[in-house]
């Protein structure tokens, strides 16, 4: 059979010679490699105390965005849910009443919005599908939990803090992500 690439190597099945049968040289060689690692730079970090910088394209936990005046951007159009390959997103829409213009940007809003984080694969297609700049993936992980039911994230858990009332929390939640405004 002809090999597809020239990378394939024949397995060496010759009987071991005396030096190989003694095993000692190989053991010493292995120990030397292990020992040399003591003097090398550690690739790990002490995680909760120290964190690594995130890549600008990192896709973490979802955040439902607000505009500058603190109104919710989401209009429950369902495009994120239809784009979601894992079918993790569900929502229920409601109509904005008179006097709620400071809460919701459009005349329709998401009354309920859920993402099942156990289903979510963090592909970012919801972010891409969103016509209202309402959902984006932040630079945080979904924290671990003891119960599976805690992983169904409701709207309250994903909504970004109010930019006017809580500017610091808002800036923190927004992170360094460059969001192009429409």
């Amino acid at each position: 059979m002809q090999a597809l690439t020239n990378k394939a190597q024949q397995v060496d099945r010759r009987p071991m010679n005396l030096l190989e049968r003694m095993y000692l040289p190989t053991i010493i060689k292995g120990m030397a490699i292990t020992f040399s690692h003591i003097f090398k730079k550690k690739p790990t970090i002490n995680y909760p105390e120290k964190t690594r910088p995130f890549s600008p394209v990192f896709r973490g936990l979802h955040i439902l965005n607000r505009d500058e005046e603190g109104r919710e951007n989401c209009t429950a159009c369902g495009l994120c849910a239809v784009a979601c390959p894992a079918e993790a997103i569900t929502m229920e829409a409601a109509e904005r009443k008179d006097g709620e213009e400071n809460l919701y940007k459009e005349e329709k809003y998401a009354a309920k919005y859920e993402i099942n984080m156990l289903r979510c694969i963090f592909c970012g297609l919801c972010e891409e599908a969103c016509p209202k700049d309402a959902i984006y993936l932040s630079e945080t992980f979904a924290p671990a939990d003891y119960q599976r039911k805690q992983f169904i994230y409701k709207k309250e858990e994903m909504l970004i803090p109010h930019p006017i009332n809580e500017p610091e929390a808002y800036a923190k939640a927004r992170g360094n992500k460059v969001v192009t405004s429409q």
């Binding site: 209009t75 849910a81 239809v82 229920e92 109509e95 099942n116 156990l118 016509p131 209202k132 039911k149």
Partner: protein, 354 residues
Amino acid sequence: MSEIKPKSTFKVTIDNITIDVAPGTSILTAARQIGGDVTPPAMCYYSKLEGSGGKCRTCLVEVSKGSEKDPRPMPKLVASCRTGVMDGMEVKNITSDKVKDARAGVVEFLLLNHPLDCPICDQAGECHLQDLGYSHGKEGTRYEFKRRTFEKEDIGPYIQLHMTRCILCYRCTYVADQLTDTRVHGILDRGDHAEISTYISKAIDNDFSGNMIDVCPVGALTDKTFRFKNRVWFTKPVDANRNCENPKCCGKATLWLRGADVYRVTARKDEWGEVQSYDSKPGWICNTCRFDKKKTSDWIIEGPTTINRHSVISQGHYEGMVMPTETIQKVMGGREPKLLMDIHDESGVNLSKK
């Protein structure tokens, strides 16, 4: 002696496809008989409504040869819904660059005042203007001024009018004129100010007014019982019928289901987005069927509606769906699986109906 008998069929060539049609057929109807890509899109023409057409100009075609007797081409593009075929006529639709250019212009004009609120609009996903914009429009608009806006208006208890989205195709006024006994709404004002309205918001309450929603090519007339309830691509259409007491109602409808809940009832649509005909009678449905019968037990379900697989509605994955058999019980010797999480217990949206 030389008496020429009128020809029984006319030969017409549309985009190099020749077809014999009866005299008096419009170019659009002839193109629909061929079907497929050669059919010009139509926003205002509705074959089931007498007198409709000629307003939106999306069905413009080029006539490169007038007829066998007078082979001169027509000087301008013509509206195919209002132009009758002649013997030996040659029509260019998608093979003509002039037509493509003109249609892109028409789409731009139609979208001048049309708000781009598709994420909010209930029609999104089955909107003819959306399809037209995707297939024939350009990406941007050159319009720099404010779009005209109107207040939302309730026409009767079941229908809401968003005049802002209206493209003035006049279909709904023809429905009111031809289907219902007394017409109580029409077009007020002219030109840019023209608007559909009932006279001093007089309520529409006749039995077939709901068909206005079906004929509306955009989201200007929407079902108030379905308003913001769900998106069309999350609901699954099934064909159903019931014995309607109303003699004018055909009783055949499409139910838009989610689970066992009927979210919306519409008339059945054919491949051109028009109401289907039964025994050459258009299958309009009455308001009782449309707005009041919102239970599956009211209907006899025939099966899933055939949806074009390119439509966003087919994202519902309901066609040819095979439910996998539950194997856990078999493997575990008859024991029920212990669910670590049942989503219905946790979700506020996906509630189980037990």
